[in-house]
């Protein structure tokens, strides 16, 4: 009888011990010091240049809402596998949320969906092909492409050769831009040529070769990385003097437009887009009560009107 009661006591103690151990581990996770919300921003580029203004908006929002941005770039542009590894690393390292510019909208969709079950994940600039992973702002890509196309028609494309440089076509936002552009200019009386670039390491050489082959009157780049490379090649007089247009911008783009290398660009308010992306994360984490309008404006800017007050606000959000 005495032995049975001893066994019962030991069993009871074992049960309490197990419960206590579980409670301690759970409690230690909940009580982790959290002064700042950690947000990992994973770019699809090798440098921060193409997301410069977006990042400025993110940093401002982070400063306003007590978040900490960890901005991560790739060692190789548009490397989906590297992005997947980085996402996994960030989750393991305890990030609170992820903002992702998907290198490949299809390939990143599975991992993004899986992550969304644990922490908030939003896409910026380039979405994933999944309804379960929202974009931080409503996409304007088709509209931006269309606006550019309408402008080309307005300026006249009759008898002209329009070369569209297709880079990063695994990103759905880029595809949408091209769709919008083609919807506007197809049926106009210009010759439309599309050329895929980005197959080799020497991006600029590839681009130059393509332009030299087709000798276009107008060249359109669907993203700032390609646009800047085209402007640099034009500056180095690697080919004739087609009119260069593009969608979205970096500080270098503005400089090239000032120098007359770029004719016009469609620019969206990247600063607000960046700010909104962090806001969406903080809202999802219930760290903010603020209500912010999700509209991101965009405009077509030419070299002759780039210094109007409205356009300066889009091109140069910070006065230096």
């Amino acid at each position: 009888m005495k032995r049975n009661s001893n066994v019962l006591i030991i069993l009871a103690l074992a049960f309490c011990t197990a419960f206590l151990a579980l409670f301690l581990r759970m409690d230690s996770k909940e009580n982790k010091p959290k002064g700042y919300v950690k947000i990992s921003v994973i770019s699809r580029d090798t440098t921060g240049d193409t997301m410069e203004t977006l990042r400025q908006g993110m940093e401002q929002a982070a400063s306003d809402m007590r978040a900490e941005i960890s901005f991560i770039t790739l060692s190789k542009r548009n490397d989906a596998q590297e992005q997947i590894r980085l996402i996994q690393r960030e989750v393991l390292n305890g990030t609170d949320a992820i903002l992702l510019s998907a290198a490949d909208s299809e390939e990143l969709s599975y991992i993004a969906e899986e992550v969304s079950k644990e922490i908030p994940i939003y896409t910026v600039e380039s979405p994933v092909a999944s309804d379960k992973v929202p974009q931080s702002a409503e996409s304007k890509d088709w509209s931006m492409g269309r606006l550019l196309g309408e402008n080309l028609i307005y300026r006249g494309v009759f008898g002209k050769k329009i070369l569209i440089l297709e880079s990063s076509m695994r990103c759905h936002n880029i595809v949408e831009r091209e769709k919008g552009l083609l919807d506007a200019i197809t049926g106009g009386r210009g010759e439309i040529i599309t050329a895929a670039i980005g197959k080799t390491e020497d991006f600029k050489a590839e681009l130059t070769e393509v332009v030299q082959i087709y000798e276009p009157d107008i060249v359109v780049a669907l993203e700032p990385y390609t646009l800047n490379a085209a402007a640099e090649a034009l500056q180095e007089k690697k080919y004739g003097s087609p009119k260069l247009y593009g969608i979205c911008t970096t500080s270098k783009t503005s400089q090239y437009m000032e120098e007359g290398l770029i004719e016009g660009i469609v620019v969206q308010n990247d600063f607000n887009a960046g700010y909104l992306s962090v806001y969406q994360v903080m809202k999802a984490l219930k760290k903010t009560d603020a209500t912010i309008d999700g509209e991101i404006e965009f405009a077509l800017i030419h070299s002759y009107n780039m210094y109007s007050s409205q356009n300066q606000r889009l091109l140069f959000p910070f006065v230096r």
Binding site: A21, L24, R25, I69, R89, L92
Partner: protein
């Protein structure tokens, strides 16, 4: 006997509870070691600083892949304002960065920045703009990586002197055995600007060359400001300018821009800069820039990165480069010039 056994079992269980609380979970065990570095530059548009930042980021990326670690590099632009930069430093401290690299806007505020970092126990690495020795000695976890400014001035002086002495007729347009020069200087009061200006001329004079200053002024390291100044001087002095001496490459390129804008490339004098930035190397290849003094951004960035890495992961400062007095890493300059036999024909071929 039974009681003793029960107590032993109880103690073992409590020991297990304590161990399970302390041991890392399987998720924590898979965490990748992390290093957070802030790089604060006085002005992001500065071409040379841009090359250092780029080289640092490349080194960080390489280390990430080799060592399976996470290195977060946050580059912050001081926009030429010490108040902005001080705010950024406070933010880095608040967000518990592991190490902060600072290119000061105003080197006279180094002491207060060091005190803040010391209070937070976050090592500081100053780069490119050297604080005074007394400030660096306030704490043992403060370091400096850069080049010796005086050396760049001396090398620049030798560059011009060697070319002139080899072929004085090519330089001395008016044949008066003197070199008429203009000087484009960095920020007023900036230590590097003062030393480069002083030592380039001192070196030329020590080589027995008579220098005749037409004018000097500050263009604040800026290419566009230099272009504006040079345009004004071109109007005033025209062909009398035989040498344009610039404290950095950006200003040298600005001087070239002024000649291009005035369509006077055929009258281009000898223009020399300092830094050896990629645009300057292109101008050198084009034949518009005579020479420059290469400030080795790769080595500076490597030295900075090695210090950051060793401080965070080894708890002490280590580098492949010599750490003088436990604090300073100085990287040597290198002169770079066009071949002398291209000098006489290069401009006319433009």
């Amino acid at each position: 006997m039974g009681k003793k056994q029960n107590w032993m079992i109880l103690c073992c269980m409590l020991g297990l509870v304590w161990l399970s609380g302390c041991a890392p979970s399987s998720q924590e065990a898979k965490k990748v070691p992390e290093m957070k570095v802030g790089i604060l530059v006085y002005r992001k548009e500065d071409t040379f600083l841009g090359t250092i930042v780029e080289a640092f980021e490349a080194a960080a990326k390489y280390a990430e892949q080799q060592e399976n670690i996470k290195i977060s590099v946050s580059v912050m632009d001081g926009r030429g304002s010490q108040a902005v930069q001080t705010g950024q430093i406070e933010k880095c401290i608040d967000q518990k960065y592991d190490v902060i690299c600072v290119n000061l806007v105003d080197r006279t505020v180094a002491a207060s920045i060091i005190d803040q970092a010391k209070a937070a126990q976050i090592p500081l690495i100053f780069f490119n703009r050297e604080p005074v020795k007394e400030d660096l000695e306030r704490w043992d976890k403060v370091y400096y990586v850069g080049a010796v400014a005086k050396e760049s001035g001396i090398l620049q002086g030798h560059l011009i002197a060697d070319a002139y002495l080899n072929n004085p007729e090519r330089f001395d347009k008016n044949n008066d055995q003197k070199l008429q020069y203009v000087m484009l200087e960095g920020e007023q009061g900036h230590q590097d600007a003062l030393l480069r200006t002083e030592y380039s001329i001192r070196t030329l004079v020590s080589e027995g060359i008579q220098m005749d200053k037409l004018v000097n002024d500050t263009a604040n390291w800026h290419r566009s400001q230099a272009a504006t100044k040079m345009s004004q001087w071109l109007e005033k002095y025209g062909n009398a300018i035989e040498v344009v001496i610039c404290n950095n490459d950006d200003m040298a390129l600005g001087a070239i821009d002024a000649y291009k804008a005035a369509k006077k490339l055929e009258e281009l004098p000898f223009i020399v800069g300092i830094d050896g930035t990629p645009p300057a190397m292109e101008a050198l290849a084009e034949g518009t820039l005579y020479g420059t003094i290469k400030n080795d951004e790769q080595k500076q960035a490597q030295a900075m990165f090695q210090l950051c890495y060793s401080l965070v992961f080894h708890g002490k400062a280590e580098s492949d480069y010599t750490l003088e007095k436990g604090k300073y890493i100085f990287i040597n300059y290198l002169p770079v010039e066009r071949e002398i036999d291209k000098v006489s024909t290069g401009n006319k071929e433009q």
